[in-house]
């Protein structure tokens, strides 16, 4: 086993343990945003896609790199956006319903489309 592989493996195992520790404290109320946030974090694969994409020199390499970038871009941008949209809705107290706007509008326009 190379030194590099050994280092990588240590990082992997320790990160798993940190992950277990931190995530087991997240309340069930937030499990959907948690999964969505975790989803955005693995959007870091974008960095990997960039590093390999730039090395591509063949048609096949370009095609693979292009799809890797599209997928990773979707993952990272969409993931953070939807996580924030959800977390924004969690409020400590009921807001007085002043005007029928805000959250309800985007969902209602969408249901009209369907």
């Amino acid at each position: 086993m190379s030194q590099q592989l050994l280092t990588d493996l240590s990082i992997f195992i320790l990160s798993l343990l940190v992950g277990f520790e931190v995530i087991s404290k997240v309340p069930a109320t937030l499990h959907t945003p948690l999964m969505s946030a975790a989803n955005s974090i693995h959007g870091i694969v974008l960095a990997g896609a960039m590093l390999t994409a730039i090395q591509a020199h063949t048609t096949l390499g370009y095609i693979l790199a292009f799809f890797a970038m599209v997928f990773a871009g979707m993952n990272v941008a969409g993931g953070y956006k939807v996580t924030d949209r959800m977390l924004k809705m969690f409020k400590p107290r009921s807001q007085p319903i002043a005007k029928p706007s805000g959250n309800s509008t985007d969902s209602s326009t969408l249901s009209e489309v369907k």
Binding site: S15, G19, G48, A56, A65, A72, A77, K91, I97
Partner: protein, 473 residues
């Protein structure tokens, strides 16, 4: 190590720390949004550092840069648009799609790296551990197709009931043998393109045959498991390109997915292998003709329900997936608000599997402005039922069936909400049909239970207007 390399690695470390702090801040709804923003900062820093590194390193063709930029812009626009448009009831599908593309991207990183290694280095050196490449392609590809099938099932494009392909056992066995065989061959370090393609194809097929036979209501477990897979695939991609940032982020997601998978499987009282074998929940279609329950069922009118609720001190709402299916969250919130104005204490009791992914019901209620201190997790809610005057059940079934406390039936041992400990129970339900587990609910026969047969949305609206009349008089 060049200065640039060192700087980039330090920024990756900072990003990883911000991811961990971000996840840590999710331990309370009050700080969760800040946590997500920490995570965004880490991500932007990591991406910028990568970009700076690539510019500094040079050597890329202009086609390479165009591919890189075009791919990123197209991808992120699709991602942002779908994140903006998605309805909260459809979040599980979107998360599934993000799992798919994350796993797919991870597999593509290994493939791109492999193609590159092969063309440039001509196998003179083996900079990438073959094990990592094989695992990355295997896990990433299974996640890709598996998540797409899961999203299709959640969206209703593919039948939610278990699909059993004839001879699926044989097919799965063949795929497993082919997959493991080709992976093992790659483990030996032989950089063989044909074997890698065989591995890719079998993994893609395996993702399909893995998820197809799993029933719709088991989706919370499936999504969580695929989330864990994606994380692992990204970590493997980190091994392939020697990036600690990818390894750390991937491991964090792997841990998160694993914890959620375990929690969901426990809450459904099923083992993970049992869910993955599939075929459970075929009783769902047969449920319509049920109703052979012996005993007396008490029915009540909207006015009776309104009286019971209005004169209570404490009411617990128990929403299940049926509530979301009927799109009745707004009506439930309206009723809660009316009762609160009369001074009734309101609590929402949320079972872990109330929804199509972990915690889904909480998001649906938060969307209609139910404040989060009113959302009680199962254990906390169960402490409240004995002091509640009325428990109002909407669209929940198996998760409130007291039969779970006895051995010898399909749901024995499943953790349930102790609805039967409340002084009175009102159940809004369309018919006496059975739940996913396909067994009768003895709570409905309890003498303190009254049934209000109605569609969730209409039923709640009727009760709310009855409460309004009561208040007006």
């Amino acid at each position: 190590m060049s200065n640039m390399q060192t700087a980039v690695d330090l920024i990756y470390l900072l990003a990883a720390a911000l991811f961990v702090i971000g996840l840590h801040l999710m331990n309370s709804p009050a700080t969760a949004r800040k946590g997500s923003q920490f995570s965004v900062v880490g991500m932007v820093a990591a991406i910028c550092a990568t970009l700076a590194f690539l510019i500094d390193q040079g050597g890329a063709t202009s086609t390479g840069w165009i591919i890189l930029a075009a791919g990123f812009i197209i991808g992120s626009l699709i991602g942002l648009r779908s994140a903006d448009k998605v309805k909260m009831t459809d979040i599980p599908q979107l998360v599934s799609i993000f799992n798919a593309v994350g796993g797919g991207a991870a597999a593509l990183v290994a493939l791109t790296d492999f193609v590159h290694d092969k063309n440039i280095h001509l196998a003179t050196i083996a900079p990438t551990p073959a094990v990592a490449t094989a695992l990355d392609v295997l896990i990433g590809a299974v996640t890709f197709t598996g998540s797409i099938i899961a999203a299709g099932k959640l969206q209703g494009l593919i039948s939610g009931s278990p699909i059993i392909i004839p001879g699926s056992r044989v097919i799965n066995t063949l795929l497993t043998v082919a997959g493991l065989g080709s992976a093992a061959f790659l483990f030996t370090g032989a950089a063989n393109t044909n074997v890698l393609i065989l591995l890719l194809v079998t993994a893609l097929l395996f993702g399909v045959t893995l998820v197809l036979p799993i029933g719709g209501a088991d989706m919370p477990v499936v999504i969580s498991l695929l989330n864990a897979f994606t994380g692992t695939a990204v970590a493997m991609a980190g091994f392939v390109i020697n990036s600690s940032a990818l390894i750390i982020a991937g491991a964090l997601v792997g841990a998160s997915g694993t914890i959620l998978t375990k929690l969901m499987a426990d809450a459904m009282n099923r083992s993970i292998p049992n869910i993955m074998i599939g075929g459970f929940g075929q009783g769902e279609t047969a449920a319509a003709q049920a109703g052979s329950v012996a005993g007396n069922i008490k029915q009540l009118s909207a006015d009776d329900a309104a009286i019971q609720l209005s004169y209570a001190d404490k009411v617990i709402f128990v929403p299940g997936y049926g509530l979301a299916a009927a799109q009745a969250q707004r009506e439930l919130k309206d009723l809660a608000q009316l009762l609160e104005e009369r001074g009734v204490e309101i609590i929402f009791a949320i079972h872990p599997v109330a929804g199509r992914m972990p915690g889904h019901m909480n998001v649906l209620l938060a969307e209609v402005d139910v404040p989060y201190p009113q959302l009680y997790e199962m254990d906390a809610a169960n402490l409240e039922f004995p002091t509640a005057d009325v428990a109002l059940v909407i669209g929940a079934n198996d998760v409130i069936n007291p039969a779970a406390r006895r051995p010898g039936n399909a749901i024995s041992g499943m953790p349930i909400l102790d609805v039967d400990k409340a002084k009175n129970v009102i159940v809004i339900k369309r018919s006496m049909g059975q739940g996913y587990a396909g067994i009768d609910n003895e709570l409905y026969l309890d003498e303190k239970t009254s049934m209000f047969f109605a569609d969730g949305k209409k039923g709640l609206a009727q009760i709310a207007s009855a409460v309004r009349e009561l208040v007006a008089n």
